[in-house]
Subunit: 138 residues, 2 copies
Amino acid sequence: MLDNIDKLIIEELSKNSRITMKKLGERVHLTGQAAASRVLKLEESGIIEKYTVTINQAKLNCLIHAFITIRLNNPYHQSFLSFIKTQEHYILNTYKVSGDGCYILESRFPSNEVLDQFLVSLNEYANYNLSIVINKQN
Amino acid sequence: MLDNIDKLIIEELSKNSRITMKKLGERVHLTGQAAASRVLKLEESGIIEKYTVTINQAKLNCLIHAFITIRLNNPYHQSFLSFIKTQEHYILNTYKVSGDGCYILESRFPSNEVLDQFLVSLNEYANYNLSIVINKQN
DNA sequence: TAAAATACTTTCATAATTCAAGTGAATCAT
DNA sequence: ATGATTCACTTGAATTATGAAAGTATTTTA
């Protein structure tokens, strides 16, 4: 289904999604038009989901990066999930998981104070386990 | 440092980093040229780190998405970290964390068999705790 | 083996980008 | 206060990329 050229295209777009089709074509030994039509197919097939940007959160004063494992005692998750939706400013990702917890949240906070406030509110809905990121390995 | 227009620009680029500068300008009521020069500044200041693409891993036959919490018994992490580097095909991200574990790995595997093999190898270096993602909440 | 489909190239009109020059407002030194 | 500098922007023009259409060669299908 995906040949080597498609894989190269995905690799190049992962490195820099704003590359022009012409240059992308050069990298994979195709014309810009041929590259563009392959990319269009990758989009239509849903393999390429979206083009996005990675932001240095620390420079935006979101210094605290944390994973929060959630344990819910009751089977009614909706109120917890609704609460999380109100906090979307801080929550990068919410994963429903098997294993130790019910959910894993990936989160960003500008300060310990804000994190503390969040955790106090969170505690009304769930027990949690906090892992603060010290460093992301390259 | 960042005004509202910059925030809007970051938001738009997060939604679609392949937007043309002309259209991006329209969204924030600027000319394409002005939008491009703001984007350039965001890049030079390091706030925009890179433009990338999100890929539907399931469609690439990487069906299993898991978080693995790592506990190391000994203080010599290097052999573990070297091992992880050899497995980069499966490891999306490695975070050093405070809290329950020493590291959190975000990983992708094409099958249970491959995951099993990985865990067997991993066990030579560390104890772990596996959380398989059932679902990512929108 | 003929027809159809696929993946590509070439060509060209259209559109976006980039560069240079110019405007107006805010800041700064005198 | 005022002239100079800087800043963020616009305008205009040359350069470059895109997208559509037509054409080619190879593979697939019936």
